[in-house]
């Protein structure tokens, strides 16, 4: 393989029902940084149906070029249809790097594509950098978040990686940015389409998206039960925050899985993360330690959460939270 033939940083621009997913914009933000370090371009691969118009949005978020694949076969995500589109694009344009969101779609498409292209793929990266030799350094947690590993793919191209939503930061949207839009026609081999979508059902669990929250009031074992979480909710209501949870309270059935922060839940980076009664198991820390500011309240002064908190309060969340709610509501009404 002649590595020199491969260049530019490509992002899989994931859309669902025509809506570009937040993680795609986060990847464009990171791709911009990587491409600038390499002196190369950011290119978005954008498969979908009747999606040409939306390509401009990808340019506004940092793409220099968008390759639009517009076909009825691509209306809904199906592994084979999308793999054919993406592999034809990659074979044609020869990217050096391909980034995908670690969503249920990205984690289905990424390995299928990597295998088809006979290249490496690193899952769920939390940090991406360029080495002095201009190789991609992909860092990810392993052993349930107990260990970090930096992985490289030096002899194969493209270098591929998935990144979890909420981990990378978006760039600044600029609707005046100029970019190129290219339409790529895909030649589908429909004899390989063995999976048919019968029905797509949305459950109302998607209502709360803790990864989008500016402030999270998060509870753990120390909050204990539904009554405890009601106190957190009261505080959250006053400051326009959302309530999230540690795994322990989800496993106990107190809180639903979609508000779980951590290795097996969601990665969040709010402006403020207020951890109440959370001891801070390493799996939990993996999901929240990138928050801008962390305040932790815990009875145990040796709790590991204090190791990542900017402000630690040794005390009982059951007492402090209602008091804080009271004072804050006075402050808010004064304004």
């Amino acid at each position: 393989m002649n590595k020199a033939e491969y260049k530019d940083v490509y992002v899989y621009a994931e859309q669902r029902e025509g809506k570009i997913q937040s993680v795609a914009l986060e990847l464009l933000g990171k791709a911009r940084v990587l491409a600038d370090a390499l002196g190369e371009k950011v290119v978005a691969l954008f498969p979908g149906y009747k999606n040409k118009e939306a390509a401009n949005e990808l340019i506004a978020w940092g793409a220099d070029k968008v390759i639009v694949m517009d076909a009825p076969e691509l209306e809904n995500y199906l592994t084979e249809q999308y793999s054919q589109a993406m592999s034809q694009a990659i074979d044609k344009y020869k990217p050096s790097i391909v980034l995908l969101g670690a969503t249920t779609i990205g984690r289905d498409l990424g390995p299928r594509l990597a295998s088809r292209l006979a290249t490496g793929l690193t899952a769920d990266c939390t940090s991406l950098d360029i080495s002095e030799q201009r190789e991609l350094l992909m860092t990810r947690p392993a052993f349930g978040g107990n260990l970090m590993a930096t992985i490289m793919c030096t002899d194969h191209r493209p270098q591929m990686s998935t990144v979890r939503p909420g981990v990378m930061q978006k760039g600044v949207k600029d609707t005046n940015r100029k970019g190129e839009i290219e339409v790529l026609d895909i030649k589908f081999d429909s004899s390989k389409f063995k999976v048919k979508l019968v029905e797509k059902v949305k459950e109302n669990k998607g209502k709360v998206d803790i990864t989008e929250a500016k402030i999270l009031v998060s509870g753990g074992r120390g909050v204990g039960n539904k009554e405890g979480f009601a106190k957190l909710q009261a505080l959250a209501d006053v400051i326009g925050a959302q309530v999230s949870s540690s795994r322990a309270m989800v496993d106990a059935g107190v809180m639903p899985h979609e508000v779980q922060v951590g290795q097996t839940g969601k990665t969040v980076r709010p402006a403020l993360y207020l951890a109440c009664g959370i001891s801070g198991a390493i799996q939990h820390l993996a999901g929240m330690e990138e928050s801008d500011f962390i305040i932790a309240i815990n009875k145990d002064k040796f709790a590991p959460i204090f190791g990542v908190a900017d402000v630690g309060i040794v005390g009982d969340a059951h007492k402090i939270v209602p008091l804080l709610t009271e004072k804050l509501s006075k402050l808010v009404t004064k304004k």
């Binding site: 793919c153 900017d310 402000v311």
Partner: protein
């Protein structure tokens, strides 16, 4: 119907701890278990066997001790077990692992291949889809429900971020399943007795239908350059004060950060 289930023996990562002084993983005394999603996959295979009759073959790649998860699979109700063990497999990343498993599948009969979505020691969710591609089989990942519709046909339920999808699949196919969809049965007493009488087939690399250059470290495009425990950021200030003062501290910090 012939169903093949690919399983992995993993350290129970929920009990892995960090040595606070040396800042390294403490691996001693960490029990090995059958990966939970794979166990869910075995459960699905056994449910299909109960309902419509099937021969369930379990395959794992690993060191000789991985024999134990295959014995567990026998005790749950599997009919045949194959252990892929060879120095040639060592150092395999997900692509090389998927090549080894695909190489084994090419020499045994199957109508359906099932594996877990991901293993708890790697969390990559890559081996199933990569293997499906080598075998040119359709795949459905994140499976939480599956119904056999006769012939080569299956109807599966796939979990997504905001709900689920119902998909019709023309087999043979690869399904990667979530443990949450299939409550694994316990080993039966008779099964446990059988488990140690049945033969686990030991297969070296030479038995597989695969180019040896695609196995192990040689066949791995990704390489781990460095492993490290996470640098914890400098701890902030910890206050041991009463509730009133604590609230004042929090309010002051929130103002400082323009949160209120």
């Amino acid at each position: 119907m012939n169903i093949v289930v690919c399983v992995k023996q993993v350290p129970d990562t929920t009990v892995v701890k960090i040595d606070p002084v040396k800042n390294t993983l403490i691996r001693d005394g960490v029990p090995s278990i059958m990966n939970p999603d794979d166990k869910g996959g075995l459960e699905l295979a056994l449910q299909l066997k109960d309902k419509c009759g099937a021969t369930v073959t379990v395959i794992t790649m690993g060191p000789p001790q991985a024999d134990l998860v295959l014995r567990e699979a026998f005790a749950m109700g599997a009919d045949r077990a194959i252990l892929l063990t060879d120095r040639a497999f060592a150092g395999a990343d997900t692509l090389a692992t998927s090549n080894a498993l695909a190489g084994a599948l090419k020499v045994i009969p199957y109508d359906l291949v099932i594996t877990g979505r991901q293993a708890i020691d790697g969390d990559t969710a890559q081996v199933g889809p990569e293997m499906a591609e080598h075998l040119a089989l359709p795949q459905v990942s994140y499976v939480v429900g599956c119904e056999y519709k006769g012939g080569n046909n299956f109807r599966v339920k796939k979990e997504t971020e905001d709900g689920y999808e119902i998909l019709d699949v023309e087999g043979p196919a690869v399904f990667t399943v979530l443990a949450s969809g299939f409550d694994a049965r316990y080993m039966s007493v008779g099964g446990i007795v059988d488990a140690f009488e049945k033969e686990v087939e030991i297969w070296p690399a030479s038995k597989l239908d695969i180019d040896p250059n695609k196995l192990g470290l040689k066949g791995s495009p990704t390489k781990v350059m460095r492993a490290f425990t996470k640098a914890t950021k400098a701890a902030g200030q910890v206050y041991e004060v009463d509730a009133e003062q604590a609230v004042d501290v929090i309010l002051e910090k929130m103002k400082e950060k323009f949160i209120i």
